[in-house]
Symmetry: C4
Subunit: 219 residues, 4 copies
């Protein structure tokens, strides 16, 4: 029966999901536009072009890193939206800063690609990712608390904890960048922070919740 | 019953909504491409990169401003299209200048980002936004007058008044830019002009309408 | 009954329509990326920026021209696809050169924007548009001859004649560019070639068709 | 009956198909952004612009090549997804490197456009295409082995063989580029490697399969 109810104008989940997809797809494809093109001299011989490509390896690594991170955030959003039947103003409104940070990411990616050992560059990238993932966490908290999801609210809350864990991982690694070089390589493992760190955070937050809410997997 | 009628060729609202979404998403993501990338010298140290980022703060502010404004216009269009069952030539035709101005916006955004205190730059941006929002108002007027909306026509007309109010806000602020610096910061509040200014305009236009049409909220 | 038949794999019209929309939307939005950004000196004062904008007027005109032309081609494609129930290999295959030319258009647009009085630039633009519209005409002919459309095949054939007329208009104007300057302004009227020129071409092709096919409007 | 079952969250094929379409459409349209724009001197006369366009012919060829190759990969993906009813983690996960390579392609395209006779440039392009098509082959193998397709698994496996053949073609041509110049022109024929080479590979792999699986066409 609820399937036939038309959502209120402006609150059809499909169009928000579509819009989010488009922003992600464009941001991910624009990442490759940032890569430096070789000039005439660097194209003069196979050897010269080879040296150019080796010199630019950090750029390619940064491109792959940002692509994989955005992919994993997109996948989590895909899973979230498949559980949402209707939108609320808060749920939709928090997509504005979330998508703004997605659209912004090519800029920090270009910066770390050009100077991966500069801790300020690493902080800029980690800060953008941390803010993006925290927006994701807020969106999940809203969906869990206001009953927008079709499934178990406890599960939705646990998913939010996973997002907070990823955000925390980026904040910590942004600090670590001032102590160790090439900290950005660690970010390839950020998607793993979600299941393990999320379980930890769920456990810490248990006192504030009903005891039957916590069904976190044991890592 | 009306749900099973296939719209005339070229007048399926879904494809126009989709096309509009795509133009908005691309324009919003391209905004970040406009941001200046640091050169080698500015990447040499954490301090140099920090100074560069602080120097470029107007660009980041302009990026965020244009992103939020396009988001709010997109949200209003989302709400409008969810009430539309079929298209007309006039309704569709006015989307051409509307979307042209959306696609154009990254250019004035780059200009105000590079020179926020230049009143000509502010006028260019405010003029583009004013023209875009006035196209939106015309689209709403058409939907209200020709019975394309499924809901209350008076409500649709009131929405159009909100759009006119936002357009007026941009025209006034474009003029204000010649008198005060940093007028563009005021534009962050433009979405608020819609409910408050719209109610005012609705009241002013009342004599030309049936008295039962006006159900404007009291600000 | 036919509505429940799943089309053969790879021949669902929706996904081709969607893909076409995406290419059009991106090409149209990228047009604005081509516009020259003012440098520091041109941003120094309101007067300097004003002179820059006036100097660049051809670029803005070329942007608006290409946007409106792509919009009108997109609208015609929208109307075509709303009549298509299934795809064929030929119908789909001709979308490859068609969309290639759509994606290519920002390049000739940038060239005429920078040098509108250069007849070679005009020829490049007119040639690209002529080839694109001729691909459109071939796609329409295929849909009419192989019975892919749901409506009257004669109507579909007449639509194809309209496309051929627009293509011819661009070829003629590409030649005219060597004789008169600013020929490109005439292209704003190209969408009008479709109803009037199409009727003419339909009349010329009548002997090769059944007499009851011709239901062209009298211009 | 199975048609009414809602897929598990995050495993709705439509949204993955849509996302893939968006990445392809953007990458294909961005190819044209790579083309060098003529400078003021090259725009001074019709003759100067003509020489510029002739000089840049390799860029236009590379643009057309990459566009057609991506189009043919997209068409094959379109046909694949129309046979998929549900997703699996492996099937979805292999889309990440696949789409990463699609998004990356404008870079090698720009490089071969600027220096088509440099064997390192050819190797970079052929390597990117080979890796992309091998990801496609893996995706097809997964769909055939884990029963995600609605049709005959043997047919799906045969399709995968076609993809492996195209990948092999690119690896061989990447090697050939060190022996003969302009090897990249051969890549226009890569889509043909799928039916012919695929039949060959299917025959070679027959001993490892049930005899009734092989229904490869005779080339």
């Amino acid at each position: 029966m609820s399937g036939t109810v038309r959502p209120e104008p402006g609150f059809s989940p499909e169009r928000l999901a579509f819009f989010t997809d488009a922003i992600f797809a464009i941001a991910m494809t624009l990442l490759a536009v940032e890569l430096d093109r070789p000039d005439e001299q660097e194209l003069a011989s196979a050897r010269a072009l080879g040296s150019f490509l080796v010199d630019q390896r950090d750029s390619y690594l940064a491109f792959a890193l940002a692509f994989i991170l955005l992919w994993s955030v997109w996948r989590r959003h895909h899973k979230l939206m498949d559980r949402i039947d209707r939108l609320s103003n808060a749920f939709t409104g928090w997509h504005a800063p979330f998508l703004l940070l997605v659209a912004f990411l090519p800029f920090p990616t270009a910066v770390i690609g050009a100077s991966a050992t500069n801790p300020m560059a690493d902080t800029l990238f980690a800060g953008t990712m941390a803010a993006m993932v925290c927006c994701e966490a807020v969106i999940r908290e809203i969906s869990a608390r206001t009953g927008l999801t079709t499934g178990d609210p406890a599960e939705a809350r646990h998913q939010a904890d996973g997002s907070w864990a990823v955000g925390l991982w980026f904040i910590l690694s942004g600090v670590a960048a001032w102590l160790i070089p090439y900290a950005f390589v660690l970010w390839f493992f950020a998607p793993l922070a979600s299941p393990y760190g999320g379980a930890l955070i769920s456990r810490l937050r248990t006192p504030h919740r009903d005891p039957h809410d916590v069904n976190a997997p044991r890592p």
